[in-house]
Amino acid sequence: MRAEYYLIALAVLLAIIVVIIILFPGSPEENDEVGDDVILTLSDFAGSDYIEKIYFVGDSTTYHFYKGGIKLSHILVPDSCTLKLSSDILDVKVGKKSLTIPNAIAENKAEIAVLTVGVNGADSFSEKQYKTYYKKLICAIKEASPQTKLIIQSVFPVAEWYSKEKNGISNEGIDRVNGWSYELAKELGINYLDTQSVLKNENGAQILLYGENDGVHLNALGYEKILEYIATHAID
């Protein structure tokens, strides 16, 4: 008889635990947008309406999205066109104004924002440094513009010759920061665009057909490829 009471008590306890897990799956900061699988998978072609909703945030590799037909008003980059993740959040140009990245996204009431940062300093970042700074930026954007759906996009590969020149940006470094970005996307429950996968050759470097002569930036064909990937890996 006594054993039965214990069994009932144990069953009640387990039921309570199950209810708690269902009701409180995790803190909102950890995962408030997407499920465990944050990588955006193949979807129906979302078309230009979807692309037009997106604001692109980043460095010069983001600025060059204009080559793919993106309006400059939807490209948020610093005045200098370069951006290295740091403890301070840089300003970007919005018309004639200078606003911080989070405020620029909020002011534009961006429905979707794609972040592509990390190429500058790719070889020198430590994991702690990279994740701390990226998280800081993401949290500031979420606070300023909670309705905006964020997407972390992988950094694009550079040409094989450039990667070997020890300029502080190698494809090994880029792969490393992309891995950290993906882990961060999972931790924060943010969608991740694995765009770099369609820009790489068999050696893990930039497909030269998509690249400018400088070894880093992409040409119009490269951005067409990227936008096609984004439109076919859309969020719901």
């Binding site: 005045d79 403890s87 301070d88 840089l90 702690k128 800081k136 300029n167 502080g168 940006i169």
Partner: protein, 157 residues
Amino acid sequence: MKSGSLLSLLLICIMLVSCAVNYTDSLSSQELMWLAREVIDTESGMRWLDEDIMLEFADDMPEYLRDFAVVRSNDAKNINEIGVFRAQQGHATEVFDMASRYIQSKQSMYRAMNYFPEEQEKVDNATVKIFGNYVVYSFLNEKDTSALYTEISDALK
């Protein structure tokens, strides 16, 4: 090997010169930075960076550091930056090494991307100096660099 020896000699020279002058240790890095900023041409203003900036120098806050202050230009096209560190007694060389590594890394980045051709002078002019227990680095033009180090030296004498 040769460049390593030269670097060591240079470091010893810097240490000897800095030891020859008796610098006070009573100002915090922030106080020193306030004084330094007064002599720099800051048309666009400079902003103070929070403690996360230290991750650009080391993954964990070095024990040999007492305090620090880093400021950068508010203008994204201007690479002006000053860092002031106060080391624990006898640890200025470790801080000097840390700041030197940081400067070299930033110089490489600026040179590789070449986004700031008009700022090249500041990239080439980047310097780290020891003043007793203080280590100061800067990305400034020649005039501001000279004014900065004179002010720092005067303030600590």
